[in-house]
Amino acid sequence: MAKTQKITRAELKKVEHIIKEYGKERWGLIPCLQDVQELLGYIPPELIPHIAEVLGLSPSHVQGVITFYEQLYTKPRGKNIVRVCRGTACHVRGGKTILNLVKQHLDIEEGETSPDFEFTLETVACIGVCALAPNIVINKETHGHMNPKKVAMLFGGKDEK
């Protein structure tokens, strides 16, 4: 679902079609942005003036809406979204160590995306599987009872080093 950095012409055409559907409906900004993100994985900043024009809004306003919401992204994200839980239970059961190990393996900081656009690393407040703490979620899969060996198994094969 998440794409790599370059947008193809076909994607651009599709995106323009999506945006056009919203016509001059100012209320449609957020659904429109969500649709664009669904297709491209993020909202390219270069598209902002176009979206603004079609919807009848000012570009700075569209930018304001996008930057307000954490889940609307203006940079391309990795193919795999790795979420390390930092909730209470996970913390108590060594979540911080797990996070550091993941960081080492992927060689990126929290909030960053690896240069090959394979991984994006995030921390989240609580996944709700505290019985399996410490936890990691990769895309839609939850991995519980994490330990250094398991971390190495998950990411070792994709190791950049």
Binding site: P45, I48, P49, E53, L57, S58, P59, S60, H61, Q63, G64, T67, F68
Partner: protein, 903 residues
């Protein structure tokens, strides 16, 4: 509507439903402090300083957004309120730098004021690290967002008042701040530097750059902006006899708290070192300084001599559409009664005569029919031949607000893309010079589809049948062929114009400065009458005036063929009444218009000229011809602020005072006369023009009996029916509806409708424009205003910040044309027409259609009017200064031909 009663600080007060607690408190004289509130902006409840306690429920309510409810018991100063307010302020101060001692906002800072009132000294809260100052090169706005308290007044002003959309909040939480798209410097955004945000910012976050004075000033004077025809109310701040700041005035019936770059930053020309401070006389070919007595004696003796030798009609007077009404009135009295000639005209001849004649003959009155406030209430607006966002910004804002808030349908008619295009419902791009065909075509569709206002036409107008018959030739097919506008657009436009609701037509110099100017205006007036849009709120005709007092100068009779108040010279009764008042006979024959003065000077029949506040060498077409003509006169006196190109040719130069240095009135394009107040003393020996005229009359032994502007104003009020209510300035517009015809401060004549009772349809024929320049001159040049300069640039080029931002003239050319002709952005070029040539820098643009060039009019070093010949339009003897045929040549940086020959 039932009144709602609440208890406010133990007193019972009543208000109407929908009123907020804050509004009721303000009306009742109770002060509730605010930071994010402003009368011109919709309340937002951002700062929470205005919290009040509702004692029944114990709730703390934000009074600026909470509507009153019956039975509320409000305490605006309860201990909880005070405590809460203190905490909020402390939070704000915790993220505010400790630089009060060095901050320019000083005593004007509302945060500081509130904090000190609340007794907040040292802060106990943890400090939050802040944003840096943003580096920008524009000379207008300085942003130090570490001082921003997130009240959003700047954003709301940008989006609600001037509707530019340059800034909005970015991010959220502690890092939230107002920013442009991609957080670029303002000069890389849509910002027009109107200065409204600076006027509203309560802290030092937004301030003017290059301030001449830091801190709080001693005096403010409310007056009227001296630039365009909007007549915005400005508040000038004065310190040590210098103007240091210009802000929108609190009471601003035209501009509602906004201004434009000219109003906000253009005032520095008043302090330009080039100001004339002493009279000068020409001796042995050179101008030298002299005393007032010497200069006036010299002028008087020359005038007397010429009058005796050649007769009074060998003298002429050129009045100023920039000087006050009182001065223009005095000047025309001077011409008629002291000199004995009707040879008087004013600078607005260059663009406004078509309006006067056209509207005068159709609706009976030579002015806009409604106020700007009513434009915002229109359901449909047609803007044709005008670029209000550059030439009359307050009108531009009103139009954009109407589109944004009311869903008004904007019909834009302009071959060039202007800033209004993005707000337009329909944008038609007719070929240049084809306006009459287009307008007639629209009218025909409306008549054919029977969507015109039959009742209005039948009861209130004359001559409809002849008009309708004449329109038969203007079929949509024919119009498409002539104008290039597709038929579907013509039908769509006509349906919009005749649709339900009120329609306003806004037009400007694109309509009037043509060889068919008067016909263009009449065609528009016909259209307005056809759709029944004259004579009530929300519909009407708006004739934009380029200059601040173009309307006033003409109203005052600075015209060769009319006495004050547009009383015709043919009217012997009028001549007698003025003759009696002034103690002399008024000559009967109409005098020379401005351009005829040049022609007669050339021919040798005009010998002497008195010029007040005009610069014909720069503003008239073909300046070399004007220069020669003026040089051949035996006597010229010029009263002006600067040693202009025209002043340099004068026999006697008289230093005049600027708008900030005298009292008087200006009449804006709405017809509203507004008070101009003196803020500082004129520099050196310069004097206000009215005093100069009086002194000159005295030197000619024909003194005029006035000792102050009040005396002149009293006579204006007495003699000119239109200005009967000149003294009632302080009444506000809400009394307007009662008086319908008699507007205060402005003269409105529509007691319901037309002064004569009927509007008149005059059929006008479309005359195709003369064939363009052929192979020699393959491109069409369009001239126009730009927002960061004004008029011919005499004053705005001496305003330091405006000059810095926009230092030199340019010629815009369509991208593709540039490619084809081999020009690139930034190259030097020369624009050549059959009449002359001008140098400019190339700017490629996507906003022009192919084959068209655009040049701004306001750069004295590149006077566009050089390119125009002096052909005048039939009915008004106005030159057509809008378009001409040209070619483009390449030059090197010195404006010379490069070694490889032209393209």
């Amino acid at each position: 509507m039932e009144a709602i009663t609440i208890t406010l600080d133990k007193v019972e007060v009543s208000g109407y439903p929908g009123m907020t607690i804050l509004e009721l408190a303000q009306e009742s004289g109770v002060t509730i402090p605010t930071l994010c509130n402003d009368p011109h902006l919709a309340p937002s409840g951002a700062c929470r300083i205005c919290l009040v306690e509702e004692e029944n429920s114990g709730a703390l309510l934000a009074s600026c957004v909470t509507p009153i409810r019956p039975g509320m018991v409000i305490n605006t100063r309860s201990p909880r309120v005070i405590e809460r307010r203190k905490v909020i302020l402390q939070f704000m101060l915790a993220s505010h730098p400790d630089s009060c001692l060095v901050c320019d906002k000083g005593n004007r800072c509302e945060l500081r004021k509130l904090a000190s009132e609340m007794g907040i000294g040292l802060l106990e809260f943890h400090r939050i690290p802040q944003h840096h100052v943003i580096q920008e090169v524009n000379p207008f706005i300085e942003r130090d967002l570490s001082k921003c308290i997130l009240c959003a007044k700047c954003i709301r002003a940008d989006q609600e008042l001037v509707v530019e959309g340059a800034i909005d909040y970015i991010e959220r939480g502690f890092i939230s701040k107002p920013a442009t798209l991609n957080n670029m410097p303002l000069e890389n955004s849509e910002c027009t530097f109107c200065g409204t945000c600076i006027a509203l910012c309560p802290t030092g976050a937004l301030t003017e750059k290059e301030k001449t004075y830091h801190g709080t000033t001693t005096a403010t004077v409310d007056t009227i902006c001296p630039f365009c025809g909007c007549g915005c109310s400005i508040s000038l701040e004065v310190k040590d006899n210098r103007l240091v700041r210009s802000k929108p005035a609190k009471e601003s019936p035209v501009n509602y708290g906004t201004l434009c770059a000219r109003g906000s930053y253009g005032y520095d020309f008043v302090h330009s070192p080039e100001r004339l401070t002493s009279p000068m006389v020409r001796e042995e070919g050179e101008l030298r300084e002299a005393s007032w007595e010497e200069a006036l004696t010299r002028a008087a003796s020359e005038i007397k001599r010429i009058k005796e030798e050649y007769g009074p009609d060998s003298l002429a007077v050129l009045g100023s559409s920039k000087c006050t009404n009182e001065e223009n009135y005095l000047l025309q009295r001077f011409a008629r009664s002291v000199l004995g000639t009707n040879n008087i005209d004013n600078g607005s001849r260059l663009y406004n005569a078509a309006s006067r004649v056209g509207l005068g003959s159709s609706v009976g009155f030579p002015c806009s029919t409604n106020s700007l406030k009513e434009l915002e209430q229109s359901d449909m607006i047609m803007v044709i031949g005008a670029n209000p966002t550059a030439s009359a910004p307050a009108v531009g804002y009103a139009i954009k607000r109407a589109v944004r808030n009311k869903g008004t349908k904007l019909l834009l008619v302009d071959p060039r893309k202007t800033r209004l295009a993005s707000s337009a419902y329909l944008w038609m791009k007719p070929r240049i010079g084809t306006d009459v065909a287009l307008i007639n075509g629209l009218a025909k569709v409306i008549i054919d589809e029977k969507s015109y206002d039959e009742e209005f036409v039948a009861r209130k107008t004359d001559n409809f049948e002849e008009y309708a018959i004449d329109l038969r030739a203007y079929t949509a097919e024919y119009v498409e062929k002539m104008t290039g506008v597709p038929q579907e657009e013509i039908y769509l436009a006509a349906r919009i114009l005749a649709g339900n609701g009120h329609m306003s037509i806004v037009y400007g110099n694109g309509i009037t400065q043509n060889s068919t100017g008067t016909n263009n205006v009449i065609a528009l007036a016909n259209l307005a009458m056809l759709t029944g849009n004259i004579g009530f709120s929300g519909g009407g005709i708006y004739a934009l005036q380029r200059e601040n007092n173009a309307q006033g100068a003409c109203d005052m009779g600075s015209l060769p063929d009319f006495l004050p108040g547009y009383q015709s010279l043919d009217d012997s009764q009028a001549r007698k009444s003025y003759g009696d008042r002034w103690g002399s006979e008024i000559p009967e024959n109409a005098g020379l218009t401005a351009l005829e003065m040049i022609e007669k000077a050339e021919a040798g029949t005009l010998k002497g000229l008195y010029i007040m506040g005009e610069n014909p060498v720069l503003s008239f077409p073909n300046s070399s011809r004007v220069r020669n003509a003026l040089s051949s006169l035996e006597f010229i006196a010029v009263a002006d602020l600067f040693p202009t190109e025209t002043a340099k040719l004068a026999t006697v130069v008289l230093p005049a005072a600027s708008f900030a240095e005298k009292d008087g009135t200006f009449t804006n394009f709405e017809g509203r006369a507004q008070q101009v107040r003196k803020a500082i003393e004129p520099p050196g020996e310069s004097l206000p023009d009215w005093q100069i005229i009086l002194r000159l009359a005295e030197s000619l032994e024909r003194p005029m009996p006035y000792s102050s502007t009040q005396g002149v104003r009293d006579e204006i009020e007495e003699m000119i029916p239109l200005y009967h209510h000149l003294d009632e300035f302080d009444r506000d517009d809400s009394d307007l509806d009662d008086l319908r015809g008699e507007r205060l401060g402005a003269r409105r004549f529509y007691k319901g409708l037309f002064p004569s009772g009927f509007g008149r349809f005059s059929p006008v024929e479309y005359i195709p424009p003369e064939s363009t320049g052929g192979k020699q001159y393959p491109l069409t040049l369009l001239t126009g205003s730009v927002i960061h300069h004004f008029g011919s640039g005499t004053r705005s080029s001496r305003a330091s910040r405006l000059k810095k931002f926009s230092p030199q003239a340019w010629v815009e050319i369509n991208n593709k044309d540039a490619g084809k002709l081999g020009f690139s952005n930034g190259e030097n070029a020369r624009v050549v027409s059959p009449a002359g040539e001008v140098n400019a820098v190339i700017r490629t643009s996507e906003e022009l259609p192919p084959g068209m060039l655009f040049m701004p009019i306001s750069f004295p070093e590149s006077p566009v009017n050089e390119l125009f010949g002096v052909t005048t339009e039939g009915q008004t003897r106005t030159p057509s200064l809008k378009t001409c045929a040209v070619r483009l040549e390449r030059t090197d940086s010195n404006g010379q031909d490069p070694e490889n020959h032209q393209s």
